[in-house]
């Protein structure tokens, strides 16, 4: 009913949401990192497709940035961190997989309903559809941060949340490239800071389980 352009954009954005669910489903850290890299590649494809339909050439640069930074560098760095820290291979979750999934479905339904209502005045179906899926990816990233206890998986949740932001920006037509580049770099900086934090946390508690931070009552000398 909308033609091939809409169908492919729908396919790519829908796959992003699906991969977000796959990340919630994974229970091995390395598999999780690979899934995250897959999401970044899909994001790059989705952004490049938006660039093609909108004929906005600067979006190709955004796609390339997403591919290089989030598809290669960040997963590689996280792999290194997991190896260096000798973390458990299993992902420790707060709730079980099935309740988390159900919560995720609820979030997706909520964001789709909300976005379709909010953007009812907009003409462009592509942007509306992209925004709805982008909000879903963002909320699923947050859900992942909330339900994981391990610091590395929380970082992955944060990065996946940022994927959603980029998708929204690509669909909304008009985010300048400068903003995009600065976002990409700030994500890298955040990654470095988080890496340093991870090593510090591990030095103090001998684990990267964030539960131990709850009981910590400051330095005792």
């Amino acid at each position: 009913m909308h033609g091939l352009e809409f169908d492919i954009a729908h396919l790519l954005a829908g796959s992003l949401v699906l991969v977000s669910f796959m990340m919630i489903y994974q229970d091995r850290i390395y598999a999780l990192l690979n899934t995250f890299a897959l999401q970044a590649v899909l994001l790059a494809l989705a952004v490049a497709w938006q660039a093609w339909i909108q004929e906005a050439h600067h979006l190709y640069a955004s796609a390339a940035l997403a591919l290089v930074f989030k598809g290669v560098i960040v997963p590689w760095a996280l792999h290194r961190i997991v190896q260096r820290l000798g973390i458990h291979r299993e992902v420790e979750t707060v709730a079980g997989v099935v309740p988390t999934m159900l919560a995720g479905m609820g979030l997706v339904a909520l964001s789709i309903l909300l976005m379709l209502q909010l953007t009812a005045a907009a003409e462009n179906p592509l942007a509306r559809e992209d925004l709805a899926f982008a909000l879903s990816v963002i909320l699923l990233g947050m859900l992942m941060m909330v339900t994981r206890r391990n610091a590395v998986t929380q970082v992955v949740g944060f990065m996946s949340l940022e994927n959603g932001l980029i998708l929204a920006a690509a669909g909304a037509q008009g985010m300048p490239l400068v903003v995009e580049i600065s976002v990409a770099f700030s994500v890298l900086i955040a990654m470095i800071v988080v890496g340093v934090f991870l090593f510090r946390i591990r030095e103090r508690f001998d684990s990267v389980d964030l539960e131990s931070l709850d009981e910590f009552r400051g330095e005792r000398r």
Partner: protein
Amino acid sequence: MELTGNLVLQAIEMLVVLALAPGLTGLVRKVKARLTRRRGASVLQPYRDLLRLLRKEVVLAENASWLFRVSPYMIFAATWVAAALVPTFAIGLHFNWTADLIALVALLGSARFFLALAGMDVGTSFGGIGSSREMMIGALAEPAMLLMAFTVALVAGSTQLSNIVAFMASGEVGIRVSMGMALIALIIVAIAENARIPVDNPATHLELTMVHEAMVLEYSGRHLAMIEMAASLKLLLYMALIGCVFVPWGIAPADAGISGLALGAALFVIKLAVGGTMLAVFETSIAKMRVFRVPDFLGAALMLGLLGTLLLFVSRSL
């Protein structure tokens, strides 16, 4: 006159389904054996097994009730009717107006109901374990199947299989991520429902992990033949369902002549052979999962069905 023609065609379809089902089971077993470097029994072995079982006398447990004796026929009848409803090589057959995806789920559900009751009837511990596990799997697989049916129905605008197939074959579908999700969900459900490897092992009679075999452990003779036949039919049914909804090319349209029907039948046999080979390859390349992991596996199917429906909702309401 037209009515007679239609009835004859429908009868042929039901007989074809019945005749091909054990062959499909035999093919899967043969390919699995070859892949593990064994020679394996002939593809025709299931036919011989069925004939032998039909000739043998039935041994009944002393405390078996009438339900135990009736169940095999009920299971076979429900599964056969369900298999006859799925468009195999032609659409527009006489029974197709009843061929509704939801009716299909209901027929298979009633077969499962009788099987589970029969498993508990004699009172052996294995039967009880099998029945309880089967119901656990069913309670998760049926909603997933229904959600997948809703996804397909939203795309095609009908839950009637003939209309769905006609719509899919017309090429108006375009690229739909929801259909991909529905396909994966249907494959997961099919694997679980047919007691194939990651969920249950169809070849085992000894392990504590068996589900389907545990329920039918007390059966013998023609009763066992009925149940084995029903299991083969169910496998064929799911393959035909996947084939007709997702690869509908070559299915004879409602007004096709003899040549169209023959082409459809030939393509149907080829599709079954390809599907059976793929199932065997999948089964040999994967390990059986623990029973307590099965809810996660089926939960993924449920989630995919739900997500497919949600994504479709977006593209339809724009």
